[in-house]
């Protein structure tokens, strides 16, 4: 089981993961589950009707737009990084937060490295399954590395040009 680190009220902490990630060739586990987009499209209504919380894993090649109408009932969107170099999930996260106003958890899964944490928080991720053994402290340091940022992003941090106006 990967370590699950959750960010709430601006602070990271190792947390108990209530969700079980279920691969497409596995039987649905009891309790809260994260399933693939394909499986969600086929079985999502039934799983939700069973009263459990459902999360959806979106691969980097898949469009989050496919979830647009389901977002209010999805507890977690797990965005996959097949390799850390594959930056599509940053756009997916930004769209979930900014375009769709998604308030649930956006979790980084796959090749999640500490050096990416700053970018991830900025684009709207709030949960992490680090692949490099990064601790809460490692991620916090990466997230708070820069005292200023130049761009508006999903984290609503004031960019340099806004700081300069004050």
């Amino acid at each position: 089981m990967p370590t699950y680190i959750k960010r709430a009220d601006g602070k990271l902490a190792v947390a108990e993961d209530a969700f079980t990630a279920v691969a497409d060739d596995q039987d649905i586990a009891p309790g809260d589950v994260i399933v693939s987009l394909t499986r969600f499209e086929a079985e999502g209504d039934r799983l939700l009707a069973e009263g459990r919380q459902v999360g959806v894993r979106v691969e980097s090649s898949e469009d989050v737009e496919a979830l647009a109408y389901d977002l209010p009932r999805i507890a977690v969107v797990a965005l996959a990084f097949p390799k850390f170099r594959d930056g599509r999930a940053y756009t997916s996260a930004a769209l979930l937060r900014e375009r769709y106003g998604y308030k649930g958890e956006v979790r980084a899964v796959g090749d999640v490295l500490r050096e990416q944490a700053g970018f991830m928080v900025r684009t709207g991720f709030d949960a992490f399954e680090p692949a490099d053994g990064a601790t809460v402290e490692d991620l916090e340091r990466a997230i708070h590395r820069y005292r200023h940022v130049y761009q508006r992003s999903a984290d609503r941090r004031a960019p340099a040009f806004a700081e300069r106006e004050v």
């Binding site: 469009d63 850390f84 170099r85 594959d86 930056g87 599509r88 940053y90 756009t91 930004a94 375009r99 050096e115 990416q116 700053g118 970018f119 991830m120 900025r122 684009t123 590395r145 820069y146 005292r147 200023h148 940022v149 130049y150 761009q151 508006r152 992003s153 340099a160 040009f161 700081e163 300069r164 106006e165």
Partner: protein
Amino acid sequence: MYRYDTLDREILADRSAEFREQVGRRLAGDLTEDQFKPLRLMNGLYLQLHAYMLRVAIPYGSLNSTQLRKLAWLSKTYDKGYGHFTTRQNLQLHWIKLADTPDILDHLASVDMHAIQTSGNCIRNVTADPYAGATAEEIDDPRIWAEAMRQWSTLHPEFSFLPRKFKIAITAAPKDRTAAKVHDIGLAVKRARDGAMGFEVMVGGGMGRTPYVGSTIREFLPANRLFSYLEAILRVYNRHGRRDNIYKARIKILVAALGAEEFARQVEAEWDKVGTDADLPDLEIARIRGAFAGGAFETLPPRSEAFEAAKASQLAFARFVRNNVKPHKKPGYAIVEISLKGIGETPGDATAEQMDVVADLAERFGQDDIRVTHEQNLVLPHIRLDDLPAVHAALAAVGLGTPNIGLVSDIIACPGLDYCALANARAISVAQHIAERFADADRAENVGELKVKISGCINACGHHHVGHIGILGVDKKGEEYYQLTLGGSGAEDAAVGQALGPALPYERVAEAVDTLVEVYLRERKDGERFLDTFRRTGVAPFKEAVYADVH
């Protein structure tokens, strides 16, 4: 010039601290080279054939004397006493020790410089017209927009892991000195009929294995909508650019696959959704504009007696003026190009001593302003005509008086097999041999504008596709061979060159260029450049002459 404020400086300091920590982990063995590679590449640090190479960013090719002196000092202290100016207006130090890099970044940060995003699959240093703020041709000062793009692209959270590297160029003059049409995005400042300022947006140009001239996807983008539009382009690219094959991952491949019209449609659709939230407030643009305003120009007569007298009495000075001195927007001033293409030298290299001299001249005579051109030369953009003789003498004294800007010996060449792990063939020595053949300055001037560009491999760092004469090094069973192309251009008349014929061995390249030039001199009509003649006659007469002895 733009001056970094506390915020800009704190971002650099934080970057430097981060890298020091990463290098520490690598040196302590906590990171393998494989794990360290993406981290060093975020800071412009490459591992080359012989040593680490650090690529220092020179945003939009603009430097002050303090910065250039610092680069000189770094090259003396941590390298072999010289640096290499690149086609992206950056500076490379080729003999760096890993353990020194954190200190080097700190020294750079102390003069508001860095190596951020000079490598990696991110938005790279923005190219801008080296004559910005000095040429009368420009509609606006492109540095304003380049600086705004520098900030916007720095550590961009969404666009730091693109399918491939991403290069933007901006020009505001009809004569394009940025190669905008062979960049991922080329921006040309335009004015609408009602006087409103905006940009023509060209996308998908590029070189490498599959060269393309960029397609215009928007004729006129209102200036205040630039950043939302850039976001839309980058977002479409980030999502849909290919990631399965490094050689098909640039935006040009996506634009070509979709067709420019369909690509434009997708960008416009995304742009509609992005809305104005992503645009930079007018106030910030005004702040940056203010930093570039003015310049301390005196009111001078258009004619300088000292300048005219020196021109009349000194042949070398007169030749320098004809080739390296360009008109300035203010009467009594001139733009001075400094050639880093001394005959027999390595194109783009400058010694620490030369950098110091240029810095001194900029400080004393040139409003503390220095530019780097994408053709690997330097520019003093604001020199009084009265001071030109003194500037020329000081340059000539350190081997920087070569009067060959735009001429056949003003060659772009990549580092090639002498430095680069990717190269198939040498590029620098080919450039040197060609330059030596045209060492006779009268002959070179008679030939006129002729852009020779040499790449040591198919990655095309030497821009051979857009050379009037392009030269590409290939490996033929372990031997260095060279394919010649003719008729390319990276300027406003951009085109990809066409092949001349079978590749030539190393020893025959300079001679072949000589033959091509002789054909041109024979065929040319009034006022035609090499490129014009070639475009009129086609390849036939050139091909016939070069391969004559093979038949």
